[in-house]
Structure formats: structure tokens, C-alpha cells
């Protein structure tokens, strides 16, 4: 550190000025050093793993946390190119997740080993107008994943356990109602019928719970076959006719005029999706109303619409319609039963087919749910993208 020579008398003002500048520069340098140290200590002690790549896609920085994740020493990897790093087995999942383009990603999961799941984000470093590098942030989500898995397994197990006693009750009640165990008085029969209905609702709720845990487990049964959607719509409409009559509603399937091509569908799941939509429409349409199901076809998609003249969805609640456990404030008043899982399940089913779902609704006038299902060729493209 150069020191000001106190013994030297300033010979001129220029000299003093020069010394001052030197002193300032020294101070700045010190500040910069301190800043650098600070930044370095933040990076070193950062709880997330960090990787920095330069313009040539060579690794220029790896912090201790990342070294720890990948179980390797920075010395061995610094200076290597992005793709080169895939030769290290622990880094390979991250490299292949990001891909050779090194495009930006946000919180995507990579499983490094059995006991380590990382959430990976890539952020471009921009200098001026061009990209001068990339920052990769690695966040350990192993604990969250484990808890999530335990939760799913618990719900799934609980639901199975709950079904067994319910089956027994269901069968026993049915036998009593059917008079298999002797004739009942009309009062007894009525009470047992109500009990049976409650039991059925409970079973449905458990089925819904199982369905969502399966969606979450990623195990949701999905076996597409090339088939027509029309008969499925017809089947559902027919099975709900009695219910519609009971509610004094008109339920109709408008047959399409054009020929509808077949599509790759998981019949069982599509039936569940349509049932959920029709069931909702019937439940939330006042007596005297109408529910219409229609089917159209565009170049790339089949489009199904379920239109009702029901109570509609309040505007301030439209965004939450597809989230799980959501039920509209107005419908809760009409019908206390309902798990709020139906539309969440429907959305998952449609999206698993590569389709899209949306709705238009006016409070007090009615709601129309639309969903699309891609025709075969589009569906194959969709699968490729997966």
C-alpha cells in the first residue's frame, strides 16, 4: 500500500492534486476489494447451488453448495464447456434437463440421486444487448418432495381403507332395500334409501380423492385408443336423463351435422370428464332450465361444449374455478355437497389428452364449458413434445 510521504513537502499544487487522486484511487480500490469479498462470501455461503457460465458456455464459477450437490471438486470442472459437464454422472441430469441450447428455465426438477432432487432455474446474464453468460440456480427440494409423496400415499391408503367398510354398508343396505331379507314398511324403506344415498355420496367423494392423488402421483390411468367421442357424449346424456327429468330440466345432445373424425381418447377418463361437466350443469341450473351438449370439429381439434342456463360463476371467482377444493360462493348455498374436485379432475384429464378447457359465464344467465381434444395427428405431436 503506497503511503503518503509526510517528509516530502508539496512543491506545487499539481503535486498535491496528484497525491489526492492517488489517494482516492486507493480508497476506491479498497472499496472494490471489499465488495468483491462480500459478494464472494454471499456466493460461497449461499444456501442454493450456483453455476455461472461465460459467453463461451464454459463454467466460470461453482459455489461450495453446488460442489456438494454434485459431489465433486470445483477444480475438476471449472473451465469445462456446458455439454462437457454431462460426462460427470451427477451433473448429467441437470445438463440434459437444460439442453444444449441453454435456454432459460424456471424451477424444473432434476433427480440427481435417490436422496437428492433439485429444482433448477437458468437465468441469462445480459451485458448490453447480448447474452454474456448464464446463471444456474439449484435449489434442494428433496424434503418437500418426500413430504409430498408421503401425503399422497397417505391419502391413497386412507381412501382404500375407507372403501372397504363402505362396500359392506352399501351391499347390506341394498339387500335390505331390495327386500332380500324380508319385507320392509314404507317408512323403513324410505329411511334405508336415504342412508344408501348418503353412503353413495361418501363413496363418490373417496373416488374423487383417489383420482386426485393419482393425478398427483402421475399414475393417472391414461390408455388412449382411436375412437369417436360422440357415443361417449350420448352415453352420458342418456344416463343423466332421469336426473334431468327429476330436476325438471331439458338435457339434450345436439348431434353434429358434420362428420366427426375419431380421436385418441382414454374412454373411461373422457367419460368421467363429461360426467363431471354435465353433473355440474344439472346441479346448478334452476328448474325449467336447459342443458345442451354440442360437438364440433375444426382442422386440428374436436370441440365439445356443455351449455347451461344456470346460476353462473361470480366474476371475482372465475380464476379459481379449476383449482382443487374450490366451490363457487353461490353454488355452496344451493347444494352443500360437493368436493370441489370435479373441475380440477376434468382439467387434468383434458390436458392429459393435449386438449384445452375454458368457459364463458354470466351470473344468473348460465355457463358454457368448452373443451378441445386434438385429432389423431395433433395428438401424436403432443405426445412427442412430452
Amino acid at each position: 500500500m503506497p503511503k503518503k510521504n509526510k517528509k516530502t513537502e508539496p512543491t506545487s499544487e499539481t503535486n498535491i492534486a496528484l497525491l489526492n487522486i492517488l489517494e482516492d484511487a486507493e480508497e476506491e480500490k479498497q472499496k472494490a476489494e471489499e465488495e468483491k469479498k462480500k459478494t464472494l462470501s454471499i456466493i460461497t455461503n449461499f444456501s442454493d447451488g450456483l453455476l455461472v457460465f461465460d459467453k463461451e458456455r464454459k463454467l466460470s464459477l461453482i459455489n461450495p453448495r453446488a460442489e456438494n450437490f454434485f459431489d465433486l471438486n470445483g477444480r475438476d470442472v471449472i473451465g469445462r464447456t456446458f455439454l462437457d459437464l454431462a460426462t460427470f454422472p451427477t451433473m448429467e441430469p441437470v445438463i440434459s434437463l437444460i439442453g444444449s441450447e441453454m435456454s432459460e428455465i424456471f424451477r424444473q426438477e432434476a433427480k440427481i440421486k435417490e436422496s437428492l432432487v433439485l429444482e433448477v432455474s437458468l437465468i441469462s446474464i445480459i451485458g448490453g444487448k447480448e447474452r454474456t453468460g448464464a446463471l444456474i440456480v439449484l435449489h434442494d427440494v428433496t424434503r418437500e418432495k418426500t413430504i409430498e409423496k408421503m401425503k399422497t400415499e397417505f391419502v391413497s391408503l386412507a381412501a382404500h381403507q375407507l372403501r372397504t367398510p363402505l362396500s359392506a354398508t352399501k351391499w347390506a343396505l341394498k339387500m335390505l332395500i331390495d327386500g332380500d331379507l324380508g319385507q320392509l314398511s314404507s317408512g323403513q324403506a324410505e329411511m334405508l334409501e336415504k342412508t344408501y344415498q348418503s353412503n353413495e355420496r361418501m363413496a363418490e367423494l373417496i373416488n374423487d380423492l383417489l383420482d386426485i392423488t393419482r393425478i398427483e402421483e402421475g399414475k393417472y390411468l391414461f390408455k388412449p385408443i382411436l375412437t369417436e367421442v360422440g357415443p361417449i357424449l350420448q352415453f352420458v346424456v342418456r344416463s343423466y336423463q332421469e336426473e334431468a327429468k327429476r330436476r325438471n330440466l331439458d338435457l339434450e345432445f345436439k348431434r353434429p351435422e358434420e362428420k366427426i373424425p375419431r380421436a385418441m381418447l382414454d374412454v373411461e377418463k373422457i367419460r368421467i370428464a363429461i360426467q363431471n361437466l354435465v353433473d355440474n350443469a344439472l346441479k346448478y341450473t334452476p328448474s325449467g332450465g336447459r342443458v345442451t351438449i354440442s360437438l364440433h370439429c375444426s382442422k386440428k381439434n374436436l370441440e365439445v361444449a356443455v351449455k347451461d342456463t344456470g346460476v353462473g360463476i361470480p366474476p371475482d371467482q372465475k380464476e379459481r374455478v379449476f383449482s382443487r377444493f374450490f366451490r363457487g360462493a353461490n353454488v355452496v348455498k344451493m347444494e352443500t355437497d360437493g368436493s370441489g374436485l370435479g373441475l380440477f379432475i376434468v382439467k387434468n384429464i383434458i390436458e392429459a389428452h393435449g386438449g384445452r378447457i375454458w368457459f364463458e359465464s354470466e351470473e344468473g344467465r348460465g355457463t358454457t364449458f368448452h373443451f378441445t381434444l386434438p385429432i389423431k395427428e395433433e395428438f401424436e405431436d403432443f405426445l412427442k413434445e412430452l
Binding site: 372403501r163 341394498k174 390411468l221
Partner: protein, 123 residues
């Protein structure tokens, strides 16, 4: 002669109801309350059809099914799985092991169970 049905089910009430309903429908029923007894019973009785639960003590339904498949005398007997699971993985496994049909207990009422039996072996 009445056709013989072997029920292998550990849940007492369910088994009892099944027996009552099937008997009323004109079948002769036998009950085994676990997989081990089920295997012994089917070798002795040579039933016309087996109703088989999956989650059971000692030997579970999947193991019973696998053993039936290995035995050339038993493998001709149609098996209907009665389960509460309905997990896709399990259903795949059941089909692979050659069961004729499967049903989820809570989804069906007893009459529908009888209908399924009738479809396999007639009255």
C-alpha cells in the same frame, strides 16, 4: 345341478352378503377367509367360478391368482377379482395374471356382481 362358486374374501360381512345373494340366485357357495384356505378349497371343490379378493392375510389375491395360473387344472376356472383398490398398476397386474373380470366393490351393487357371475358361467 347348481353351479359351485368359491368366494375368497376376508371381510366377514361382505362374504356373508355375497353368499346370501348368490345362494338366492341359485348358486351353491363356499367361503374361504384367506388365500391359503382358498387354494386348498379350490383343489378339493373344483368350483365353476372363483370370486377373489386382493388384500387378504397370509396369501393375498395376486399370489393366489399367480398360483391358479401355474396349475393346469385350476387355470380353466374363471376368476373374478373383487377389490377396493382399482389402482391402474394393480388392474394391469390382474389382467396379466389372467383374471376374467375385476370389479371395485364400492362401485357396484350386489346385483351387478351377480350379473357379472352370470355372464361368466350362466345360471
Amino acid at each position: 345341478m347348481a353351479k359351485k362358486i368359491l368366494i375368497i374374501e376376508d371381510e366377514e360381512l361382505l362374504a356373508d352378503l355375497l353368499q346370501k345373494k348368490l345362494t338366492a340366485a341359485g348358486y351353491k357357495t363356499f367361503l374361504a377367509t384367506d388365500g391359503e384356505r382358498g387354494l386348498i378349497a379350490m383343489r378339493e371343490l373344483a368350483p365353476d367360478l372363483i370370486l377373489l379378493d386382493i388384500v387378504m392375510p397370509k396369501i393375498n389375491g395376486l399370489e393366489v391368482l399367480a398360483e391358479i395360473r401355474e396349475d393346469k387344472n385350476l387355470k380353466k376356472i374363471p376368476v373374478i377379482i373383487i377389490s377396493n383398490s382399482g389402482q391402474p398398476v394393480e388392474i394391469d397386474k390382474i389382467k396379466e395374471l389372467g383374471a376374467r373380470d375385476w370389479l371395485i366393490k364400492t362401485d357396484l351393487n350386489l346385483q351387478e356382481v351377480i350379473d357379472k357371475v352370470r355372464r361368466q358361467i350362466g345360471s
